[in-house]
Amino acid sequence: MTSAVSFQKASRHFGSVRAVDAVDLDIAPGEFFAMLGPSGSGKTTCLRLIAGFEQPTSGSISIFGERAEGVPPYRRNVNTVFQDYALFPHLNVLDNVAYGLMVKGIGKAERHKAAEEALSLVRLPGYGARRPGQLSGGQRQRVALARALVNQPKVLLLDEPLGALDLKLRENMQEELKSLQKALGITFVFVTHDQGEALSMADRVAVFNDGKIMQIGTPEDIYQRPKTRFVADFVGSSNVLPPDFVQRYSGQHRWGSLRPESIRVGRAASGEGVSARLVSTNYLGATTKLALDADGLRLHAIVPAGTALPAEGEAVVLTFNREHLHLMDEPA
């Protein structure tokens, strides 16, 4: 089966800055694919390479099997939902949504009907006459989505589309985007720096750092079995354990990772385990996050709220199940 989007050793260098560096990537048709990484990691540049706003300096990119280098954005059947929506301020909502159809030369009645349908799809029916300036952030986001979807793109690109929304709205939109993607069957490529968002929405996640993909896999893969220290640390802020520490518990001299929720905290002298000192506690509502100091190694543990906790500064003993200690591929 041809990939929806395929990168072969694709690079985009800006002078000496390697924004995207020899990236290989295959996104399957109908997939919800997330590109996750810190800012400046190259994920947005990758998205812009698919949209056609950037051209690769080397390597090749194909979209549904067709070579895309040198093809301008307006000849790609790919649409983008921009980070700050990029709605046209001089057009009303209906004309914004109908814009793609208008430039294709589709008649006014027909394109307005299609735009109305797209607005219903994003649950904004009857908002056509308003100006973008009269809408809230969440509504603008939906209009931007409708404006992209009305063209029935082969691939929909979303550049941190939920970044500007407040928490509650963001959670609603995450669910909506996911069900919309399921219903339409369009390939979604979603850029985010929020690991929770990537894990909860995507079928597969690519973790970016320094213009390279560190790991591609299902959310579970990425979260449970990080390959490198960077992935372990960036996705879910896992405890990265040095090889000497890992050797004591697994017998292998390799880097390891241990999820904060896998660590149990007990009072000192309550049995064997890693002796540590409780540095501080952070109340997070459903859980409490503990910062611990195990002989110079800084660890984090997350315990359910309501757990009886020792006081800050007290000595504690840490235990965990051996199978939760994940050994990483990265050489020691």
Partner: protein, 322 residues
């Protein structure tokens, strides 16, 4: 150390005493009643604007309702519309029509020339190139208007560099053909309406470039990308996104180019034919002819035209950008 700081904090008063004296009292007064300060600051410029500027404008308007005694040459200070009757004679209407046509053409040409320059400056020029752009646009504005016009007279003259250049390029026939045309032609560019037009466009161009550049600078770059992403070719993006969003800037610039051309009397006098423009008519009526009322009536014409122009511009949203 930190103990000392705590001691100081403990003994310091929560409210500081007034600084005393007239200055302290005034500062407190202005803070409590900010409108007093505003009034004091605005009074001188408002008096200037109200009396000297608007006042003289009304004096001018009043003059246009007086008439001149044709035998004695004295001004008859009684209300009459006779002067406006004179204004609408065929010869004077000719002058008005000529000036308005020239102003419209100059505005159109300025907009066409200014747009790419402004677009480059707003979208691509950065750092040093942007500074160079501003310098290039502003530099002509810092040099004397008269010197520039006389320089153009030399450039456009029959013996001038333009004719010389076209001769070298074997393109003199193009110039000769153009000059042989009625109305726009003449003996040389420096004594034709074409020459007047070229110099007008040159002199007023910066006033068009700057507002268009300001308008384009406010168009977020991702709107152009969004348009392209949605399938619009560069031409379609220009028509549907860039031009509508730059229009307020173009209209704002056209207010300058149009009104400055309407009122100018030096350029057509130095470069052009002997046929008059409004500014020249005002100049000769109030000077040699001594007909102040008719001069005043002529002056009212650009004011009225600009009034309509601004009204139309406002409806197009030209001032939303200000």
């Amino acid at each position: 150390m930190s103990l000392d700081a705590a001691m100081v904090r403990a003994t310091a008063p929560a409210i500081l005493p007034g600084s005393g004296g007239l200055r302290g009292a005034l500062s407190d007064l202005f803070w409590r009643k900010p409108k007093v300060l505003l009034l004091l600051m605005l009074l001188p410029p408002v008096l200037w604007l109200g009396i000297v500027y608007i006042g003289s404008l009304f004096a001018l308007l009043a003059q246009s309702f007086f008439s001149i005694d044709e035998f004695s040459g004295l001004i008859n200070r009684e209300f009459t519309l006779k002067t406006y009757g004179d204004l609408f004679q065929a010869a004077n209407l000719d002058i008005i029509l000529r000036t308005v046509t020239m102003a419209a053409l100059v505005t159109l040409a300025s907009a066409v020339i200014a747009f790419p320059i402004a677009y480059y400056a707003a979208r691509y020029a950065r750092g040093r190139w942007k500074a160079l752009f501003y310098l290039g646009i502003m530099l002509p504005l810092w040099s004397s208007y008269l010197v520039k016009i006389y320089a153009w007279k030399l450039i456009l003259a029959k013996e001038g560099i333009l004719t010389w250049l076209l001769a070298k390029l074997h393109l003199l026939w193009v110039l000769d053909t153009w000059l042989s045309l009625p109305v726009v032609g003449g003996n040389s560019l420096s004594v034709s309406f074409t020459g007047t037009f070229i110099v007008f466009v040159y002199v007023w161009l910066p006033f068009m470039i700057l507002p268009v550049q300001a308008a384009l600078e406010r168009v977020p770059g991702n709107l152009v990308e969004a348009s392209s992403d949605l399938g619009a070719s560069p031409g379609q993006t220009f028509r549907n996104v860039l031009f509508p969003l730059a229009l307020p800037g173009i209209v704002a610039g056209s207010i300058f180019t149009f009104s400055l051309t309407l009122g100018d009397y030096i350029i057509p006098q130095i470069i052009g034919t002997s046929r008059l423009f409004i500014g020249q008519a005002v100049y000769s009526q109030q000077g040699t002819a001594g007909n102040i009322p008719l001069a005043a009536a002529f002056t009212v014409v650009p004011i009225v035209i600009m009034g309509f122009y601004l009204w139309g511009a406002k409806r197009m949203g030209a001032f939303d950008a200000l």
